[in-house]
């Protein structure tokens, strides 16, 4: 076991270190300086020297590389500080905390649908519709995002941020596989990656927040909405009319038959009502910001869903080659417009808020 220094490595060089140790110390300091580069310039100018002293003092004699835990901690803290500068107000950080929970909840629900989707089909064609690896991936992602959401709900912001970043990496891998045609529908993978990105950025932006961001009422409503979203296919199967295809190929669900139409509408309405209840349970300042952000997101999602359904009635595209130019626009332009609309809306809202506060103070 390496011995740690008893005092900071800032003792003025009272004793001469061997050349190798001096070189190691120099290399270690250079690497720590690089890690501190993740912090904003202003923060670095004020704190880098002090922080470097602490980081070096924590290190063992002759150590050349920062400990992995210390390195990750500095990178995550640095990114958090950068994003914290973007979101300086506690209300903004709380809004980011809410998004950092809502995103993983939604992703867990979508991944859960993959598992529930197996119940939509009879065993004869189940292997074709949902291969085993997709179900395993679905279980893994559902569990992972549920844990990230739980960490966020409990106010464990660092764990939630680290989990969201790792989850984002996983969703990007799934997107790449979908582009190559090896994984599930491209559009679903694409949106999962977008939601994961929003969740990761929000989680990093909310690192400086305090306390639990959601009340138990909001958590209950959000969890219920996610459960409906995830279990929808499994519920549907109990009511849907089945239409035989051939004598040997089993049956396939007919989503338009029987009472499935109103069941879909009912479940959709219940999900929306519960999501609205979750938003209503937020603090007023956070609620207004969440509403400003979520409205364009809802409109964008609806536009993309309707657009794809209209352009490709036979099903979702499985690879890039199957996308028409119009679908490309739908896939890229609509989300970009949606995100820009979110930010413009939020900036206008914040400006209006500042003006009101100035008027009150004046």
């Amino acid at each position: 076991m390496r011995r740690r220094r008893d005092t900071p490595r800032t003792d003025g060089g009272a004793r001469r270190e061997p050349a190798a140790e001096a070189a190691a110390a120099e290399a270690l300091e250079r690497r720590y300086r690089w890690l501190l580069g993740w912090y904003p310039h202003v923060y670095r100018a004020a704190n880098a020297d002090d922080m470097l002293g602490v980081a070096l003092a924590r290190s063992a004699s002759g150590q050349r590389w920062p400990e992995p835990g210390e390195a990750v901690n500095l990178i995550v803290s640095g990114i958090g500080e950068r994003l914290g500068g973007i979101l300086p107000r506690p209300d903004q950080q709380d809004t980011a905390s809410v998004l950092a929970i809502a995103g993983p909840v939604l992703l867990a629900a979508i991944a859960g649908r993959t598992i529930a989707g197996r119940f939509m089909f009879t065993p004869a064609i189940i292997a074709f519709v949902t291969p085993h690896r997709i179900v395993v991936t679905g279980i893994a992602f559902a569990a992972w995002w549920a844990l990230v959401a739980l960490a966020g709900m409990l106010g464990w912001r660092r764990a939630a941020a680290a989990g969201a970043c790792l989850g984002l990496a996983g969703q990007v891998v799934m997107l790449v596989l979908a582009v190559a045609g090896y994984s599930g529908p491209l559009m679903v993978s694409y949106w999962q990656a977008v939601v994961a990105l929003v969740a990761a950025v929000s989680a990093l932006g909310s690192l400086r927040g305090q306390g639990r961001p959601l009340s138990w009422r909001a958590i209950a409503a959000l969890t219920a909405a996610a459960a409906i979203l995830a279990g929808w296919p499994a519920v549907e199967v109990a009511f849907v009319t089945y239409t035989p295809i051939t004598a040997n190929s089993g049956t396939i669900s007919d989503p338009l038959g029987g009472i499935a139409g109103w069941l879909n509408d009912g479940l959709f309405a219940a999900t929306l009502i519960l999501a609205a209840a979750a938003i209503a349970a937020l603090r007023p300042a956070v609620r207004r910001r969440a509403a400003v952000l979520l409205l364009p997101a809802f409109v964008t999602t609806a536009l993309v869903c309707w657009g794809f359904r209209g352009f490709l009635p036979g099903g979702l595209p499985l690879g890039l080659l199957m996308l028409s130019p119009l679908q490309w626009q739908d896939l890229v332009l609509v989300p970009v417009i949606g995100v820009v609309a979110c930010f413009i809306g939020l900036r206008l809202y914040e400006r209006r808020l500042r003006r009101r506060e100035a008027e009150k103070a004046g």
Binding site: T7, P8, T10, D11, G12, G13, N47, D49, D50, M51, L52, G53, V54, A55, A57, R58, G69, E70, N73, L74, V76, S77, G78, G80, E81, R158, L207, R208, Q210, G211
Partner: protein
């Protein structure tokens, strides 16, 4: 002032500073000692905690020294920090007393806890 209970690192940093002004590395070591080796603060975590405590007005910079051409900053408790630490200690004492009382009823043979 934030009414949320203090997290463990923040509580331990305030407790360490109750013994007098300390610089960053001394805080890491003191927190490690206070927590019986359970809490070893990473540098990023320590400065995150210090920033939040400073923003809340619970601590402030006591003095700065230049050691080996490098800035070393000492932090100290403010009056608000002393009050907050006292309130938090009292809250924890009440919780601990309540838990000890229940445990005594469950395990009377163990005696006082």
């Amino acid at each position: 002032m934030n009414e949320q209970p203090l997290r463990e690192p923040a509580f331990l940093v305030l407790t360490a500073l109750a013994g007098g002004a300390l610089h960053g590395y001394a805080l890491v070591e003191d927190v490690l000692r206070l927590s019986d080796g359970q809490v070893r603060l990473h540098t990023g975590t320590l400065y995150g905690v210090l920033d939040r405590l400073r923003e809340a007005g619970l601590i402030d910079v006591d003095r700065e020294e230049i050691v080996d051409s490098r800035l070393r900053r000492y932090y100290a408790l403010t009056d608000a920090g002393i009050e907050r630490l006292a309130a938090e200690t009292e809250r924890m004492r009440r919780n601990a007393n309540a838990a000890a009382s229940r445990l005594r009823r469950l395990r009377p043979a163990d005696g006082a806890i």
